[in-house]
């Protein structure tokens, strides 16, 4: 019944601080977030996922051959 207790108990000091110089009330703060959000919402090139896959495979190979670093 009370499954929402986590959402209900957001601590007030985490809320937007009115005096926060980079908060939503500041033009600079809002532009900064807009700038950054644009960057984070860019599509991530596949090369990164492929890289991690390769690293993972390499590790498995090294593990299974008990290879020495070199």
């Amino acid at each position: 019944m009370k499954s929402m207790k986590m959402a209900a108990e957001i601590s007030p000091n985490k809320a937007v601080n009115k005096t926060d110089p980079l908060g939503v009330h500041s033009e600079i703060g809002r532009k900064l977030k807009q700038y950054y959000d644009d960057l984070t919402s860019e599509e991530v090139p596949d090369r990164f996922a492929e890289l991690l896959k390769q690293l993972e495979e390499q590790e498995t190979t090294i593990d299974s051959t008990a290879g020495k670093g070199g």
Binding site: P21, I28, L32, L39, V44
Partner: protein, 182 residues
């Protein structure tokens, strides 16, 4: 191995933020992505030193930042400090007082010295606390606070916006009154 599949998933999840931080530092998409690639390789190699349950995003940001500065040093580029930029007065002309364009903002951000730029990005955009940002940058919390404050003042100066909360019609009248002082 420290993390296994979870580590990889978390690392993947951190990539968009990493790219944004890299772009903020390097100001160039190709360099930024090279930086991210190098960071992922380093993070993978060091994964045993990552303590599960701690903030992975802060950890990889630290790696990326170190990589950025070490590449800059290798290229022989002097790391800008805040004082060094005082001479480089900027020519950014906001298209409209009170409603700056995002491009104006980017241009203004680029004129900041790296230490100030990274501080204001970490605090104002990436959502890190002052303590976390201090850890990422390897400096004191007070140093981060002062860099953020200087970055903000400088951006306000360049973009001709007045203090926090002052945008819209009030910002314009404040601007008019302020410029009488010249």
């Amino acid at each position: 191995m420290a993390g296994g599949p979870t580590f990889k998933v978390e690392l993947l999840g951190a990539i968009p933020s990493l790219r944004a931080f890299a772009m903020s530092l390097a100001q160039n998409a190709d360099k930024a992505d090279d930086l991210v690639q190098e960071t992922l390789v380093k993070a993978w190699d060091k994964q045993a030193s990552f303590q599960a349950g701690t903030n992975l995003k802060a950890w990889v940001f630290t790696i990326l930042r170190n990589e950025f500065y070490s590449q800059m040093r290798k290229r022989g580029r002097e790391v800008q400090d805040s004082d060094g930029l005082m001479t480089a007065r900027l020519a950014v002309h906001p298209s409209q007082v009170g409603s700056m364009d995002l491009n104006d903002f980017k241009a203004a951000l680029e004129t900041l010295p790296e230490d100030q730029r990274e501080a204001i990005i970490l605090i104002g955009a990436s959502g890190f606390s002052y303590e976390e940002a201090a850890e990422i940058c390897g400096c004191a919390v007070g140093t981060i606070k002062s860099r953020v404050s200087r970055a903000r003042s400088r951006l306000q100066e360049i973009l001709k916006v007045s203090g926090e909360g002052d945008y819209g019609p009030d910002a314009i009248s404040a601007q008019v009154m302020g410029s009488n002082a010249a």
